[in-house]
């Protein structure tokens, strides 16, 4: 199970139109990058978190989702606090200031991305991209990927459990070997599953394309107007304060 996917499917905003959610999240993302980090990014960060929580995401879950990216952001930013010189590396006040702003900006951007991921299943986004002109073939491969990755994650978890039960994950060498065996079994099984899926879909008239009918979720102009006003207000505040 993927936490953000589960959150997206159980979100209060699950049935909101894709365009509304995309406009809000991507708008915030653009603002996070375009506005000066202080106070612009801070405002975006606050807005994204408030929206995510309003959509029904527990704050704790949001923090856990942000933890992974944050580790990278902090490591990356840490390198900016030191400067190379003729006598080796030394701490840099200016670098630290730059790093702080970078962390703030990245965090705002990550929270905007998270707002999208906890309200909108990735499959909806791919369907949206398809309507915007993504080639159908690529979209269909992507949607098959989405569907099968859950099946394969379950399988991988079960294989891992059985390896643990037989002490296959104790020690570095055994873990490498066990992980290799896991993957070496998973790939043929993934392809085998694709073959069986082909047979299963043939029975339903598979003629080469994987067309389906998505539920219609009409855009509400009022919501779009509210989102636009929010984004303009944030942009204005970020520039003027």
């Amino acid at each position: 199970m993927i936490p953000s996917d589960r959150l997206a499917h159980t979100s209060r905003w699950r049935k909101r139109a894709l365009a509304e959610k995309a406009l809000l999240s991507l708008g915030l993302l653009v603002l996070a990058l375009a506005l000066p980090p202080w106070p612009g990014a801070a405002l975006v960060l606050a807005a994204a978190v408030v929206c995510s929580v309003t959509a029904g995401t527990p704050l704790g879950a949001l923090v856990r989702l942000a933890a992974g990216p944050l580790a990278f952001i902090l490591t990356g930013a840490a390198t900016l606090t030191v400067q190379g010189g003729p006598e080796g590396l030394h701490f840099s006040q200016a670098g630290a200031h730059q790093a702080g702003l970078l962390v703030l900006r990245s965090l705002a951007a990550v929270s905007a991305l998270l707002l999208l991921t906890v309200t909108t299943p990735a499959s909806d986004l791919v369907q949206g991209l398809r309507r915007l002109g993504l080639p159908a073939e690529v979209a269909e491969v992507a949607l098959t990927t989405y569907r099968l990755l859950f099946v394969l994650l379950d399988t991988a978890a079960a294989i891992h459990t059985s390896q643990e039960a037989r002490l296959g994950t104790v020690g570095w060498r055994r873990r490498i070997r066990s992980t290799g065996l896991l993957l070496g079994n998973l790939l043929p099984r993934a392809l085998d599953r694709a073959r069986r899926l082909e047979l299963g879909l043939a029975a339903r008239g598979f003629d080469g394309s994987l067309r389906t009918l998505s539920p219609a979720r009409p855009v509400r102009p009022a919501n779009v107007a509210i989102i636009a006003m929010l984004l303009i207000a944030l942009g204005g505040a970020g520039l003027w304060i």
Binding site: D5, R6, H9, R14, K15, P121, S123, D124, L143, T144, Y146, R147, F150, V151, R193, R196, L197, L199, G200, L201, A202, A203, R204, G205, F206, D207, L210, R211, T212, L213, S214, P215
Partner: protein, 277 residues
């Protein structure tokens, strides 16, 4: 006969014969159980009955007409004969339930409105209308199984082929699934299912075909086929428990020779009541 197989031959890549001159006939509006042990090739047989696999020799007839494997012919054939595989993950590919069920109707060339109507109808007939918007990967096994059947039902097939429909389901899940299938049948569908479960075949089939070594060695009413201990032994199977008990009751004179043998728990309990009187 809505569906017939005549002299089907088919061998796997390794050269092992899966079907070896198989004959089978399916009566319209009835429930046929194809009974055999695991690995006997029951799935392979089903895949011949809707044209997914092409026999090396022999024919499949639909309403008396020999079917061919050209593109257009196959499409028409599969429209009339639906197939539900044992493992629902082998048939569900779309991210959500309603999207998945819409695949078949769209392939039939139906309009969006018609497709939507078909999806609703199919989900309702499987009693899973409330799952329409759920993501496929968050369903339980039993729910997936019903969605897979809805995917076939949405194409309104005349014959529905089901591979081990109750495998992996618990009592409750199996009872519910059978109730839903029964409703489809009274709606006019013909049901053909494979199983290795003699008790299921006994409780629920109108006709049983015993599948051994690539052939149907016996086909007929359950009380004949499932009482044929010798034929069953070839398939490494034993008679259903209730059939055995019913025959013993008949032997002891507690059931008149012409009376129906108990097929369900309720009938068996009623028989016990009768004996005590």
């Amino acid at each position: 006969m809505i569906l017939e197989a005549r002299g089907l031959h088919y061998a796997y890549a390794g050269g092992v014969a899966a079907l070896d001159g198989l004959d089978l006939s399916v009566e319209r509006g009835r429930r046929l159980a194809i009974l055999g042990p695991n690995g006997a090739g029951k799935t392979t047989l089903l895949m011949h009955l809707n044209g997914t696999l092409r026999p090396a020799a022999g024919q499949v007839l639909l309403d008396g007409e020999v079917q061919t494997h050209g593109r257009a012919a196959l499409a028409a054939w599969r429209r009339r004969v639906g197939l539900v595989l044992q493992e629902p993950d082998d048939q569900l590919f779309a991210p959500s339930v309603a999207e998945d069920v819409s695949f078949g109707p769209l392939n039939l060339g139906l309009s969006e409105d018609e497709t939507r109507a078909r999806v609703t109808e199919a989900l309702d007939s499987l009693r899973i209308g409330d799952l329409a918007e759920r993501p496929t990967h968050m369903l339980s096994f039993g729910q997936k199984k019903r969605v897979a059947i809805a995917g076939a039902v949405a194409m309104r097939p005349e014959v529905l082929l089901l591979d081990e429909p109750t495998a992996g389901l618990d009592q409750f899940g199996a009872v519910h699934l059978l109730a839903v299938l029964e409703k489809l049948r009274t709606g006019g569908a013909t049901l053909v299912f494979t199983t290795h479960d003699v008790d299921l075949a006994w409780a629920w089939a109108d006709t049983v075909a015993l599948f051994v070594n690539g052939k149907v060695v016996r086909q007929g009413p359950p009380e004949d086929v499932l009482a044929d201990t010798e034929a069953l032994a070839q398939a490494r199977l034993k008679p259903p428990l209730l059939l055995d008990l019913g025959l013993a009751a008949r032997d002891h004179g507690w059931l008149p020779p012409s009376a129906r043998l108990p097929r369900t728990r309720a009938e068996a309990m009623a028989l016990m009541e009768n004996i005590s009187r």
